[in-house]
Subunit: 485 residues, 2 copies
């Protein structure tokens, strides 16, 4: 008996290694590290005004030319709201198809994110320094880099020209890819976008879809009771937070780094919890991954399996049950000491994204009785006011309509709008009824049952047919744009 | 005899009245005053950055709805480098065709020109205040106004929508029309441009064409000797300006407001003279006009007829002969007291245009032995340096390539690039070899023997067949875009 116990203990200790081994054997891409060269290019701080001394800053981009052969295309990922290394490591699809196309891969970072800070650590210290954070400036950066990579050769000198470029991106990065093709068609021959919600703006799309899709994921991949328990949980938590005893209970059971004390803390706790649900649904991949945090395969399913206590009357049991379930996200590695419900103050990426969603990218999110979140309305005026108080800056209304023309896409070509239907980013995505006026190269595609940007990830032996089919469509679309078939 | 002399004198005094009468009887549009309502719209000072208090300023536009019937199009002139009232009064073509199309006419002023000053009289006092003067901001203004005029109706509500809009413009205004269609295709259904040199940028077009075309006009419409005398003149003038006596001779004979004294004065004199030649050629219409200054019909011809002294040895005679000829431009009304060779200091339009041609719109002009101007090379580095000294501001190189894609027009549709072949603005214009890749709605047209923007002026009974044909092509192109035939 003792011998068996030791054997089991050893097996448990070896478990992570076995997992890695199994993943390796079945060819999973979930923890492949893609090799990339880091480069920087000097780009103008302001592309649209003449400035005193023509100020520039260093924009980071990553490069992989392993499969590139002269004459091949350049696939450029137009970085979004995170550090570009994360996008690069989670866009295995490009590495998978590079050999087919003999393509160069470029991942360009979005200004004000990662290491591409126009004013270094002072980039976020004043409204004046933040003013160059906009989609128009970001697109100009991308076009500037592409022009540079093409060798600054004029159109009549083609000998050493490196092209064509194709833009890729998911969610905000996908919006940028589409807009790059729309505003700078001479820069990229096409744009392949995944769940890019370019219609997710006031007046174009309603507000309830984002949280509804997160709920859909939990309904589909969690257990039946799970959504009900999550919905039930809000009131229990709010009630507990009315007393010091209850706040202590939650703080200790959920291993919070600092005890909840103030109403501000309670709001932060509720936001933290809602954000975990969103992130769980977004990374509900069929293999372990590390996109936001390390999570197992199907984390929503596992979360729901652990949320076993379902009776509102058993408050302590429910709080404990939530604690167990939340560890799927907060502590999959077992190394987390405590949970911080506040963003780190120096999380520049978070500040940058908040600024963007406060100025240009106003994407209304509300929750209703039909979803598993606390019911919350969305009010444009109040939203803009709060943003103004935070950043002392605002753009005028109708920005998305004015800058990118709203739903009028009939003027553009060579854009593939793909949507993963369980990605909250698919709300506000493009689903076209083909009309005679639209160029046939403007395409939409829908992937059933697919989470956030799974299509742009590396292939995995467990990929379902929907996903395999989608990627086949992507490859044949690229071949069409590149005139290879 | 005395009686006859008096009769002749009376006739001479009556001459201007007779001219007007004759013009009226023959239906000339040269001094028609078009009726326009003046309006203002609040537009953001900066369309591309969130600003502290969302600052706006009043952009002027002019409106004529005399022939407008609901359902008709809106023809919008995208104002260029001058007061918009001048463009409106010199674009009679739109007034001529408004009844055909039941069109509304709108003339929108370019920011920093005319009465559309973002910071009032302080708009030009600092580099900081000048920074919002750019083509990108101007295009965003136009798109903003069009969105407003369309009634800010979203695409699914079409009941009271006012559209389509078609952009019109000549020279810089024409560049803006083309770029508006390229960057904001959802704003205007098409762009009709006259002599819009969108290729007139370093790396795309050489520098000698502008002054060559001015020379061509003098060769074609002046007398044979005229170009030679003008070319000869430069050395005579420069030589005269080496002595006080010579400077006094020129100052008095040419009725200069202030005597030439310094080398700076001499340079200003030479620039002033060159500018008159350019303006004479640009307004060499077949009827009297008042575009820059009042001039008779065929002012180049008359200038050359008056430049009778052709011998370099007869310096005094030559200076006097130039004085007589120049009066065609400087004193056609007979009311000019003296000639100021310097721009007025408060000529904001002139400063604005100099700033633009120093930052974004760097359009290289040089003169060679083949033209009638003083030979002058053009050097990019030196030009940018001088501009930097003047304005303390510069844009990076390759601006036109980066912003508008250089010669890569194959992505766009519904633009008519017409060029008047004796308009210096036709240098750097678009002359396409139709390729299969280009949309058939991207058209070019050439008007032989036509001066600056004559095609956009009101029709005149003396218009030649080239001009009549060109306008017929414009009308049928508009009908095609508007789906009226």
């Amino acid at each position: 008996m003792k011998s068996l116990k030791i054997k089991i203990q050893m097996l448990l200790k070896l478990f992570p290694i076995i997992i890695v081994l199994v993943m390796f054997l079945k060819g999973s891409k979930s923890d492949t590290i893609y090799s990339l060269e880091t480069r920087y290019i000097d780009v103008p701080v302001d592309h649209f005004s003449a400035m005193g001394s023509y100020k520039t800053f260093k924009l980071r981009y990553l490069l992989n030319g392993k499969h590139y052969i002269k004459g091949g295309p350049v696939f450029i990922y137009t970085g979004g709201e995170r550090d570009i290394t994360i996008a690069a490591q989670n866009t295995g699809f490009l590495f998978d198809i590079a050999p087919i196309f003999k393509a160069m891969l470029v991942f360009v970072e979005h200004r004000y994110y990662g290491k591409s800070l126009p004013f270094g650590n002072a980039s976020f210290s004043t409204t004046e320094n933040l003013r160059y954070l906009s989609t128009t400036q970001a697109l100009a950066d991308f076009s500037f880099l592409i022009d540079d990579l093409k060798g600054k050769i004029f159109e009549n000198v083609t000998s050493s020209k490196i092209e064509p470029f194709i833009a890729f991106g998911g969610y905000y990065a996908g919006m940028l890819s589409a807009w790059l093709r729309m505003k700078y068609p001479f820069s990229v021959r096409g744009a392949l976008t995944s769940s890019a919600p370019i219609f997710y703006f006031p007046g174009l799309t309603t507000c309830e879809g984002y949280y509804q899709i997160v709920t859909d994921m939990f309904e589909k991949h969690g257990q039946e009771q799970c959504v009900k328990t999550i919905k039930l949980g809000w009131d229990i938590i709010i009630n507990q937070c009315k007393t010091k005893l209850g706040m202590d209970l939650i703080s200790s059971t959920w291993k919070l780094c600092n005890k909840i004390r103030t109403p501000e803390d309670v709001n932060a706790l509720l936001d933290w919890l809602a954000n975990i649900y969103v992130k769980l649904s977004m990374t509900n991949y069929h293999y372990p991954s590390d996109y936001y945090k390390p999570v197992p395969a199907y984390p929503v399913k596992i979360f729901c399996e652990k949320l076993t206590t379902t009776f509102a009357s058993d408050t302590k049991g429910l709080i404990q049950s939530f604690a167990n379930a939340l560890e799927v996200y907060t502590n999959y590695t077992g190394k987390t000491i405590c949970n911080n419900i506040y963003h780190k103050q120096e999380d520049f990426n978070e500040i940058a994204w908040q600024y963007q969603t406060c100025t240009e990218l106003i994407m209304p999110k509300c929750s209703t009785d039909n979803d598993m979140f606390i019911t919350k309305q969305w009010n444009y005026t109040q939203f803009v006011l709060e943003c103004y108080e935070t950043f002392g800056a605002k753009l005028g209304p109708d920005w998305a309509l004015l800058a990118y023309g709203g739903k009028n896409l009939q003027y553009y070509s060579n854009i593939l709008f793909s949507n993963s239907m369980l990605d909250p980013g698919s709300w506000g995505g493009v689903y076209m009824n083909k009309s005679n006026e639209t160029d046939e190269s403007l395409m939409t595609y829908e992937i059933i049952d697919a989470p956030h940007l799974v299509d742009l990830r590396g292939s995995d032996t467990a990929d379902n047919n929907y996903l395999v089919q989608a990627r086949n469509v992507y490859v044949s679309t690229l071949k069409k744009w590149l005139k290879l078939e």
